[in-house]
């Protein structure tokens, strides 16, 4: 590892840019959305620059390291590998899509867009931080704008939903914080890389046991709880349908597209490297929860009447595949199994990105439909929309088929690789989980059937189709879905070296 103090670079810049944008937006009144769009585009450009400057060998690059509070082990330590950089790109894309979708914010738009940009800054900060203290600040910072965005601009039941979201996630964070304080007490370090090296060599467990007694499994549980709430993993998901449904759709895009990835990212960057051995010991329980997330998430989606709740549960189902992949690889492996681990981990990271894009796109379409109907979004409130709005139906159809994992679109590749990895490692989990693929297909096709097919009810005959600027906004996203479905190597090429490096540093 590079121990030199390096200066401020791209990673600080990308986190700072939305903060500056937020300040400007706050004082630019009705022009706030334009400011946010420019900032979002700038962030996307920066994230792509970072993506192209990754070290080819999968190591952490673009490192920035400055001593901060040395006595407490706190450093300003930033860096990204394929995983982190991919999450930056994803956050930037989803952020931009969300700003684009929010084209009808009438009540304090300056505050709204300032908060959205602040949330984006929180995401960038969390995906680049390599020191717990610093990371935790961003993890929490992203929560506050999200809370107010739901609370102030949400649906009729926004108050309880926002509170539930906030308190639930906070409770998870507290568990996380406690675990890390214990780790710090035992080791004197908060650095993710250092801690993962200690864990790899077995010194971490030794130090913790020596200082605190046999609490290592409990510390792991605390960390897992924090991420399990955020992702979510069943049964820690009950905040999610309410929050996703009550938040304005543009904010739901951020919640599901980017913030849920903070949870998965946390598993990969923090939980598995530092508590790999403990996770391996709890693997059976965790696998049961992951499979439940996949299957029950899909079934719960099938029971929903509200389109947003339906898609919320569908998101739970899709992130369940990530959980499944992560827990499946938590075994001491050798030979052929390493190939399976690599396939599953590549699949998990691809799935994070693909789900982010696709879920954000789906909520974008919901937001378009809601603007047009003026509110109702029950699955039975529609019918035959394909007739008055063929372009909307066609484009949303593509996003829905991407979500159900149609080959040729992005969603398939990640799920295929996850199953490729999981089946040899735990065939029962894989076999039960494929049920999720089936149920998801039924659910999403029911959406198409009820919303777009059948006779057109009288009140929808005049339903306006997407207009040109809306089409132009969505075409690049759908183009990306197709591109990644056909050439997934674009992402895997950069992620695979990171996957190999991570696997070689993890011990179970």
């Amino acid at each position: 590892m590079n121990e030199m103090n390096t200066g401020i670079g791209l990673l600080t810049l990308i986190t700072l840019l939305p903060v500056v944008g937020a300040l400007i937006a706050l004082f630019s009144g009705k022009q706030a959305r334009a400011v946010a769009l420019v900032t979002g585009l700038g962030s996307l450009a920066l994230s792509l620059v970072i993506w192209t400057h990754l070290p080819a060998d999968g190591h952490i690059g673009l490192v920035e390291k400055i001593a901060w509070v040395p006595s407490l082990g706190i450093e300003y330590h930033l860096g990204v590998d394929g995983l982190g950089a991919l999450m930056l790109v994803l956050s930037a894309i989803v952020g931009l899509m969300s700003i684009d979708a929010a084209n009808r914010v009438h009540h304090s738009p300056n505050l709204y867009f300032a908060l959205v940009l602040l949330l984006e800054a929180g995401l960038f900060g969390a995906f680049t931080a390599l020191n717990f203290y610093h990371w935790f600040i961003f993890w929490e910072i992203s929560l506050i704008p999200a809370f107010f965005l739901i609370k102030l601009w949400g649906g009729p039941k926004r108050g309880p939903a926002a509170t539930q979201f906030f308190v639930y996630t906070m409770a998870g964070s507290v568990a996380l914080l406690l675990s890390f304080m214990a780790v710090f007490l035992a080791t004197g370090s908060m650095d993710f890389i250092k801690l993962s090296e200690l864990a790899h060599s077995g010194l971490l467990a030794q130090a913790v046991t020596q200082h605190l007694g046999p609490v290592m499994p409990w510390l792991a549980v605390g960390v897992l709880a924090g991420f399990a709430v955020k992702t979510p993993l069943m049964p820690f998901h009950t905040w999610l349908p309410n929050a996703y449904a009550e938040a304005p759709s543009a904010v739901t895009m951020l919640l599901t597209g980017a913030m849920s990835k903070m949870g998965v990212y946390g598993f990969l960057r923090i939980a598995v490297p530092i508590f790999g051995h403990e996770i391996a010991q709890m693997r059976t329980v965790l696998l049961v929860l992951a499979v439940a997330t996949v299957v029950l998430g899909a079934f719960a989606a099938a029971a929903q009447k509200d389109l947003k709740r339906l898609l919320a549960y569908s998101s739970v189902n899709h992130l369940g595949y990530c959980m499944l992949g992560i827990f499946a690889i938590a075994v001491p492996a050798s030979g052929m199994q390493i190939a399976s681990q690599a396939a599953a981990l590549n699949g998990v990271i691809l799935q994070m990105f693909n789900h982010g894009i696709t879920a954000a796109a789906l909520f974008w379409f919901i937001s378009m439909i809601q603007f047009r109907t003026g509110g109702p979004r029950g699955i039975d409130d529609f019918g035959g929309l394909r007739k008055p709005a063929p372009v909307l139906a066609g484009l949303m159809g593509i996003a829905l088929f991407s979500s159900l994992g149609l080959p040729g679109l992005n969603g398939f590749v990640g799920e295929f690789l996850i199953f490729r990895g999981v089946l040899p490692l735990t065939w029962i989990s894989a076999t039960v989980s494929v049920l999720g693929l089936l149920v998801t297909a039924v659910v999403l096709l029911t959406v198409i059937q009820k919303v777009f097919a059948g006779p057109v009810p009288a009140h929808l005959v005049e339903f306006p189709d997407l207009h040109l600027s809306e089409r132009l906004a969505m075409v690049p996203v759908l183009g990306l879905m197709l591109l990644l479905g056909l050439v997934p190597q674009l992402i895997v090429g950069a992620v695979n070296p990171t996957v190999l490096r991570l696997l070689s540093h993890w011990s179970f």
């Binding site: 609370k151 102030l152 926002a162 509170t163 906030f166 308190v167 639930y168 906070m170 409770a171 507290v174 406690l178 304080m181 214990a182 007490l185 035992a186 200082h211 605190l212 049964p235 998901h237 009950t238 905040w239 349908p241 029950l296 079934f299 719960a300 099938a302 029971a303 052929m336 190939a339 690599a342 396939a343 394909r386 088929f401 080959p407 040729g408 590749v413 295929f416 690789l417 199953f419 490729r420 089946l423 040899p424 894989a430 494929v434 693929l437 089936l438 149920v439 297909a441 039924v442 096709l445 029911t446 059937q449 777009f452 097919a453 059948g454 006779p455 997934p488 190597q489 695979n496 190999l500």
Partner: protein, 691 residues
């Protein structure tokens, strides 16, 4: 007899220019489909021209590829050329795609392109008045591309991807008239039912990939269908006494059964008739539903792995029995249907059963020959049915037709040829020879059950087709409207297909089994001695008798009768409740309704209830306990701690208050409870960590 004298050809695997460019065959229609998607709905002529033109070029390339394989065959080379490449690099292994040119793919390519082209041309006439004409050709082209992708795939992943594209287009085309709720429901049913098979298929693919380390079928000795991988798979145990090869084979067969409408996944195919008739002809008769049969033919080395000389395997036995059961089951239902397209749909299900049984009993060539002949005469029958439906103004009930032979001469003659080919009328019709091959293989099998089932199915086939033709073309006129013959653009393709329904006989007789020899890479001598094989002549005689009896019975009961459109069917009177059972398709849909679908809905409601009440309840309980603890803490805090921490919380409140002045500050209260709880825990931790 013939096989023993056959010469086994030397393998030739070096890729030629034609193999390198084989991808163009599926790519052209897909690109055309993309361009058509961007056209305005009014641009009918360019849309049809693009679709027909691109498939026409694909057909030319396919013929060139076929000629290449044929040239190799004539020079005694077993052509199997592949072109493989790495799609993604995962870990240190590679996910490969690729395509293959061998006799199997060459024959299938020509068939799909040729039949597809005729159906495209026919569609110009059939869909002339549809407002979504352009979109129709967009979907049709995409379908052709996907189907051709299935055919050329040398990677089981590429095959699966194309397979799903085909499933998507089938979904889109069944639901083409989406304003009809029945069409939308049928489309969903088709996609979901085939996906049931597909998830097993996907598991099979993943298993095959992780066991053999490759997705390629053939790769210079390292492919999954080559001897090294197969012998490995045979030694791995999968539980229940099965080898991994058998288990994977059965999983793949589940996928094939979904696509090819085998029992118990056949329920979607009759409903798929909600789509426009050219779709039924192209997708649900000639090509897509045959993809399952093609898949089994493609992975045949896996299915037959481990069989001793002349023996069979568990996987092939399952294929045989499922096929034979489907053949009889669907033929029985077809007897009691009144919708012209549904009769043909059940007939397709039944014939697909024959193909599967043929694969299971007699090998690739036997099942595959029936696939090819069936594609021609069933496309012919569907397009003839479309012509009839068109002629009688969108009427589909055969009881409301009658006496059309005079009004629609071309349609009648060509339909008659298709019907006789499907029945397997002796000697001059291709269906006779391909079905006879299957019956012969069944007769030679160790267990005779499938033979009797298939023979009974043949009797039923001849019977229900005679019933249908009698109702439609003979007897008195019962239609509401005056019938008219369809335009040339629709009848010409019928004539061409009718020609092939007869002509294909030439390549599959025992005297010159060219087709079989070509597929098996053997020489094909012409010798009348082929007929002299022991037992063959008597078997041919038997199957001829079965067909003639079936047709005779049908004609006796239904032939040229003067009757009322609302009169009870003659058999309905005779059979009573059995007829009701058949007419209601053995109540399979109803059975699924009260079992699988009820289970699905029940689980959904249960999960939702669990989510709201149990998990939600636990959360509420925890929140309540937490609140209680916090109140106690607050009491302690106010009494003992005071000072600094309270100030911190107040600052947080004011900070948040700026943002939330319109709302209450309840979250700050929660935060405060949380923070207090945290401090207490940290204190405990520090205390326990003291040296």
């Amino acid at each position: 007899m013939i096989q023993e004298t056959a010469l086994i050809f030397t393998p030739q695997t070096a890729a030629s220019a034609i193999t390198g460019n084989l991808w163009l065959i599926p790519a052209l229609p897909i690109v055309a489909s993309g361009i058509i998607a961007l056209l305005k709905q009014k641009r009918r002529v360019p849309a049809a021209a693009l679709a027909i033109g691109s498939l026409g070029i694909s057909l030319l390339i396919a013929i060139a590829a076929f000629a290449h394989v044929l040239a190799g065959w004539m020079a005694n080379h077993a052509v199997r050329e592949t072109f493989n490449f790495s799609w993604i690099q995962v870990g240190t292994s590679s996910v490969d795609l690729g395509w293959v040119l061998d006799p199997l793919s060459a024959v299938m390519l020509v068939m799909v392109c040729f039949v597809g082209l005729l159906i495209f041309i026919y569609s110009v006439g059939y869909m002339a008045h549809d407002e979504n004409f352009t979109r129709f050709f967009c979907f049709l082209s995409l379908f052709a591309g996907g189907m051709l992708g299935v055919v050329i795939a040398n990677s089981i992943l590429l095959l699966f991807m194309s397979w799903e594209i085909v499933g998507l287009t089938s979904y889109l085309l069944i639901g083409f008239w989406y304003h009809k709720p029945s069409a939308a429901a049928a489309a969903k049913k088709a996609f979901v039912t085939t996906r049931v098979g597909d998830i097993f298929f996907l598991l099979g693919i993943v298993w095959l990939f992780s066991s053999t380390g490759t997705l390629l079928f053939y790769s210079h000795g390292a492919g999954s269908l080559e001897s090294l991988a197969l012998s490995n798979l045979l030694t791995q145990h999968a539980g229940l006494g099965l080898s991994a090869a058998t288990a994977i084979g059965l999983l793949i067969f589940a996928g094939a059964a979904g696509k090819s409408g085998q029992v118990p996944l056949h329920v979607w195919l009759p409903d798929a008739m909600e789509g426009p008739t050219p779709v039924s002809a192209l997708i649900h008769a000639a090509t897509m539903v045959a993809a399952g049969v093609y898949l089994i033919a493609r992975v045949y080395p896996l299915m037959s792995a481990g069989s001793l000389a002349g023996g069979t395997t568990v996987a092939l036995t399952v294929v045989t029995w499922v096929g034979a059961a489907t053949a009889v089951f669907a033929a029985l239902i077809a007897v009691a249907q009144n919708d012209i397209k549904r009769i043909l749909a059940y007939s397709t299900v039944s014939q697909l059963g024959y193909m599967m049984a043929g694969l299971g009993l007699g090998g690739v060539a036997v099942g595959f020959f029936h696939l090819i002949t069936h594609a021609f005469f069933k496309a012919l029958l569907f397009m003839g049915a479309g012509s009839v439906i068109h002629g009688v103004h969108e009427e589909q009930d055969i009881r409301h037709m009658g006496g059309l032979n005079a009004k629609m001469k071309t349609t009648f003659v060509t339909y008659g040829i298709g019907m006789l080919a499907l029945c397997g009328f002796p000697l001059v019709f291709s269906g006779f020879w391909s079905k006879d091959g299957i019956l012969e293989a069944a007769h030679n099998g160790a267990i005779k059950g499938p033979f009797y089932m298939l023979a009974f199915g043949a009797l039923l086939t001849a019977f229900y087709m005679t019933r249908q033709v009698s109702y439609v073309f003979f007897g008195n006129k019962r239609a509401h409207h005056e019938a008219h013959e369809s335009p040339k653009v629709m009848t010409m393709p019928l004539a061409i297909l009718a020609f092939f329904a007869i002509a294909l006989s030439a390549i599959g007789t025992p005297a010159w089994p060219w087709f079989k020899s070509f597929l098996n890479n053997e020489a094909a001598p012409f010798e009348f001695a082929g007929f002299a094989e022991p037992g063959l002549a008597s078997l041919m005689l038997l199957s001829s008798c079965i067909v003639l009896v079936g047709i005779g019975l049908g004609w006796m009961i239904y032939g040229n009768k003067q009757q009322d459109a609302h009169a009870k069917d003659a058999l309905e009177k005779a059979l009573g409740p059995i007829w009701t059972l058949l007419a209601n398709r053995f109540y399979v849909d109803e059975l699924y309704g009260v079992t699988v679908i009820a289970l699905y809905k029940g689980l959904a409601i249960l999960t939702d209830f669990f989510d709201r009440c149990v998990w939600g309840g636990i959360v509420a309980l925890v929140a309540w306990v937490f609140g209680l603890c916090a109140k106690i803490n607050r009491f302690l805090d106010e009494t003992f701690i005071n000072g600094g921490f309270d100030k911190g919380c107040e600052q947080l409140s004011t900070g948040g208050g700026i943002l939330s002045n319109v709302e209450s500050g309840r979250a700050q209260t929660y935060l405060r409870y949380l923070a207090v709880g945290m401090i207490v825990l940290v204190a405990i931790l520090l205390w326990s960590a003291r040296p």
